[in-house]
């Protein structure tokens, strides 16, 4: 009985964490290249609606997932053209992307509200999935859950171990120096931004295809913004971001369970993820470790090569 509820709760935590992990891992790469894209909420919603609509009309969840990533990337492309080519303010453009994405996803999805879509199938790994407790928790999830962890590992490996990853970090720390060394600042930032958009799209698709398999206007309810905070919380390091995402998934599930246990209005518990975000940001910025976890030095600063 207890083992069963541990299994259920752990599986739910992993499920609640996965969209955050996708989005935060993507945004981490974007920010490491020196670009601050605040439009994640909009990209996520577009991914959610595109993934849902394509899965429903074609019947293929794989096509849906690809469409979600593409939709996120297209939104990110608009952001990149504005901020990297047309030198628009990154904060303002990110806000515009969010407002636009909320509106456009609601418009495109208005015909899909209330329709059901089969949830992504859980992968069954022979042998492993039958293990007691950890079997269903670790090896009974759907493909996107594994993909989110693989993506995080891939990002960690890319940034730390590969030459392009090092280039990307150099560009994020000082675009001017990187440029004078001959590194393609704008091209790398474009690619990083597109990657971030695709990852945000996947996070959205997980919401509309697996977490709550349906489409609802504004269904991300601030998860994109929480993911932005997670990048800060994880001090721009992939594995710490993963830990942060699971912590927040835990808070989300915990408050759902607490709602039944205490005689307080449900809204009190729904506030938890948002308040936790503020608390965590404050602790990270205020503690004795402050200053050791610095943002990329050129984060959010526009750069235009003079030649």
């Amino acid at each position: 009985m207890i083992a069963e509820s541990i299994v259920n709760i752990s599986a739910a935590v992993i499920s609640a964490s996965t969209p955050l992990l996708f989005v935060a891992a993507g945004e981490l790469v974007v920010e490491r290249s020196g670009v601050l894209n605040l439009g994640v909420e909009g990209m996520m919603l577009m991914g959610a609606v595109a993934g849902f609509a394509v899965t429903l009309t074609t019947g293929s969840p794989i096509l849906g997932i690809v469409a979600a990533a593409a939709a996120g990337a297209v939104m990110a492309l608009a952001f990149a053209v504005l901020t990297l080519t047309l030198m628009a303010n990154q904060v303002a453009t990110g806000l515009a992307l969010t407002i636009f994405g909320i509106g456009l996803s609601a418009l495109l999805g208005s015909g899909f509200v209330g329709q059901p879509v089969p949830a992504l199938p859980k992968l069954h790994l022979a042998g492993l999935s039958e293990l007691p407790v950890i079997g269903p928790v670790l090896f009974g999830q759907d493909a996107l859950v594994y993909l989110s962890v693989i993506l995080t590992g891939g990002v960690a490996w890319f940034l730390k171990r590969t030459r392009p990853g090092m280039m990307l970090r150099a560009i994020g720390e000082s675009a001017a120096s990187a440029h004078s060394l001959g590194l393609p600042v704008i091209r790398v930032r474009y690619l990083a931004t597109l990657f971030g958009g695709a990852a945000a799209g996947l996070g959205g698709a997980f919401l509309s295809l697996s977490y709550t398999p349906m489409w609802m206007e504004g269904m991300t309810s601030g998860r994109g913004w929480i993911a932005l905070a997670l990048v800060v919380f994880g001090s721009w390091r992939p594995w710490r971001v993963l830990a942060g995402a699971y912590l927040f998934g835990g808070v989300t599930i915990l408050q759902l369970h607490a709602q039944g246990a205490f005689h307080l209005p449900a809204q009190v518990f729904s506030m938890a993820p948002y308040l936790a975000t503020i608390a965590v940001l404050t602790i990270i910025s205020a503690g004795p470790w402050r200053g050791r976890f610095n943002a990329p030095a050129d984060l959010g600063k526009p750069f235009r090569p003079s030649v």
């Binding site: 504005l82 628009a88 509106g103 609601a106 206007e217 729904s270 975000t277 503020i278 205020a286 003079s306």
Partner: protein, 360 residues
């Protein structure tokens, strides 16, 4: 022929004021194709969306009702944006302001007196200011991004309002609907024109917009805000405190958002409900930018956004245009505006040869 892009020494003023017009033009054009894509008759839908709301006197009065809160909030936000203080939680500050003012209205329900409305305004302003003080404190004390905190607090505010209207403040005679009692007459703003919904708050909003303009153009604090935003290093050298600017602009914008919330519940709504606005706090961000952070521009862009709300409603009835189209329209407008701003900072020329095309 090669396209040659060169930075301007100074942003062109003429272009700065022309870009909003260009952005509106591009948005309308894109809207045409969007409506076409949605299978609607684009010209007719655009007509309903943009022209219909302005055809009658009553239509204009309704535009004033919608533009009022947008202009009031945007006037405050614009001052922060000039100082690079990004308060994007105005929706939450509006909500808390409404909670404060609504609390006063309910506490003195059934009583009459000229002092009730001013007390509500005071409570509304204080509610918004207190709520904006949280991101201000976290920013100045711990360097926590005010963008994330102010936005997170918006979700918290909506939930807090929900607790009140679903719980202790619910109308006992209201058939269990999640709403408070209708306020008594003394807690409602007087109308300034019979047969319309235009209320006293709209006049106050106009006065605030003009006062904001005077402050930015004529006072030392306005000058300090501009310097802190444009040249932080110069501001430090001149002894202008960044922290004071953060506090000032967050408290001011929070207070005005709270006042806007007060006017909404004491004006068109007349009670507290779970969802007070169709996202005025976020749309006001667009209003501020589209108005070039200038109070007079903000009034003009506030009306444009009001048209997008009211036109969206008309097109929803006439053409079955989904309500979300208003949000798309507003987002596109901000996108195009930010893109067009490129023209005010860079000059684009056609050059005859490639050699000339590479700037030194």
């Amino acid at each position: 022929m090669w396209v040659k892009v060169e930075p301007r020494q100074e942003a062109s003023r003429r272009v700065i004021y022309a870009t909003p017009v260009l952005a509106v033009g591009l948005t309308v054009l894109s809207g045409y194709f969007l409506f076409l894509f949605l299978g609607l008759a684009p010209a007719k839908t655009l007509y309903h969306f943009l022209i219909s709301p302005t055809l009658t006197f009553y239509g204009w009065s309704e535009l004033c009702v919608k533009a009022g809160p947008l202009v009031l909030i945007a006037s405050g936000l614009a001052i922060g944006f000039r100082a690079n203080v990004w308060n994007i939680g105005a929706e939450g500050q509006l909500t808390l302001g409404a909670v404060g003012a609504g609390g006063v209205a309910l506490a003195f329900w059934g009583e009459s007196g000229l002092w009730i409305l001013p007390l509500m305004c005071l409570a509304g302003i204080l509610g918004g200011m207190l709520y904006a003080a949280i991101p201000a404190f976290l920013k100045t004390r711990y360097e926590v991004s005010e963008i994330l905190t102010s936005l997170m607090l918006t979700y918290v505010a909506t939930l807090a309002l929900g607790i009140l209207v679903y719980g202790p403040w619910r109308d006992p005679m209201g058939f269990n609907f999640p709403q408070t009692r209708m306020f008594s007459d003394s807690a409602l703003l007087p109308l300034i024109l019979d047969g319309t919904r235009m209320h006293l708050g709209i006049l106050v909003t106009l006065a605030v917009a003009v006062a904001a303009w005077m402050m930015m153009a004529r006072t030392v604090i306005g000058f300090q805000i501009k310097v802190v935003g444009l040249a932080p290093a110069a501001a430090r050298f001149a002894g202008f405190s960044r922290n004071r600017t953060v506090w000032f602009s967050l408290l001011l914008s929070g207070g005005l958002a709270g006042l806007a919330g007060t006017f909404e519940i004491a004006g068109p709504i007349g009670q507290l409900v779970p969802h007070l606005t169709p996202g005025y706090g976020f749309t006001a961000i667009i209003v501020a930018f589209l108005g070039r952070l200038h109070p007079l521009g903000i009034i003009a862009s506030g009306f444009l956004m009001a048209i997008s709300y009211n036109g969206g409603e008309i097109a929803q009835v006439e053409d079955r245009l989904p309500q979300a189209a208003t949000g798309v329209f507003q987002g596109m407008l901000l996108f195009y505006l930010l893109a067009c701003d490129f023209l005010s900072r860079y000059r684009i020329r056609l050059a005859a040869t490639r050699r000339e095309a590479s700037p030194s």
